[in-house]
């Protein structure tokens, strides 16, 4: 049901982008990285957080963590995670498949600058086994997103 909303969104806005579905799980960053054969950082994870009374989506590289202080300075308040059942209701996507496309309710979307370390990244596509490959700038443009700096610096381990 929900992969269909992403498919419809992409068909209308970016018909050249194909949904990758390999049947195996891409629900967590580690699983997605293994399934797609890319480094975890390239998995673009979409976090649903509450800032004050407003729910927003923040897309970050897979191995990055939100920094409370930077989030407060960029968005005005500390980020609080949204309960999983609310995420499904608000985005229309099941946890593990949340992406900033084809949303059930219009939400403001922010992309963390950390994504720009890569030429291409892999956000989910509305289900726990699907994703798309996309440049960070295209991702932000399609999601009507604004670029912000809210993650802790990623320490490269290799």
């Amino acid at each position: 049901m929900t992969k269909e909303s992403v498919r419809a969104f992409l068909a209308a806005q970016a018909p050249d982008i194909a949904i990758i579905d390999q049947g195996a799980s891409t629900a967590t960053v580690a699983q997605a990285a293994a399934t797609l054969g890319v480094e975890p950082g390239r998995i673009a994870k979409t976090l649903s957080v509450r800032i004050g009374r407003q729910i927003v989506l923040i897309v970050t590289r897979g191995d990055a963590r939100l920094c409370n202080r930077k989030t407060k300075s960029a968005l005005g308040d500390r980020p609080r995670m949204v309960p999983a059942e609310d995420v499904a209701k608000l985005t229309g996507h099941p946890v593990g498949g949340v992406c900033p496309f084809g949303l059930a309710t219009p939400l403001p979307v922010f992309c963390d600058l950390s994504l720009k370390a890569f030429d291409e990244v892999y956000p989910a596509a509305g289900s726990p086994t699907s994703s798309v490959r996309i440049t960070p700038d295209r991702l932000a443009a399609l999601a009507r997103a604004s670029w912000i700096d809210v993650c802790l610096d990623v320490i490269e381990t290799r």
Binding site: R53, L107, R144, S146
Partner: protein, 156 residues
Amino acid sequence: MARMTPATRTLDAAGVPYTLHEYVYAPGDGAVGLQAADALGESPACVFKTLMALADDKPVCAIVPSDATVAMKRLATALGARAARMMPPADAERLTGYHIGGISPFGQKRRVPIAIDASAMAQSHIYLNGGRRGLQLRLVPADAVRALAAIVAPLV
């Protein structure tokens, strides 16, 4: 700079990217947003008007598409109030420090709760009043939400 307004100063200070668009403002023509959309050659759906209202008698700000009418009940609900009504123009001018026709949601004299219609999130860019008659700001909707700490909700 002649183009500087409290709105542009607020955006500059917050590091929010925007562009300025000027048009010839026709006084007394009523629908400021619609006139701006027409003058800029943009769809009214992406040119938003800024309205000052009272929600449970407290000042608030509503941002809706220029061709739409704000649903007062929805505005009240979005801001956690029971009822809302329009603010008299003279009060809006005094409270915001802007003139009617040039009321921007940014850089108002006093910070008030702000709600923006959810339809803005589907636009690649939106236009908002720049704080002077005949001046519009073009920016990414999520940037407007961030800079205003606005609540996103259906308001029309």
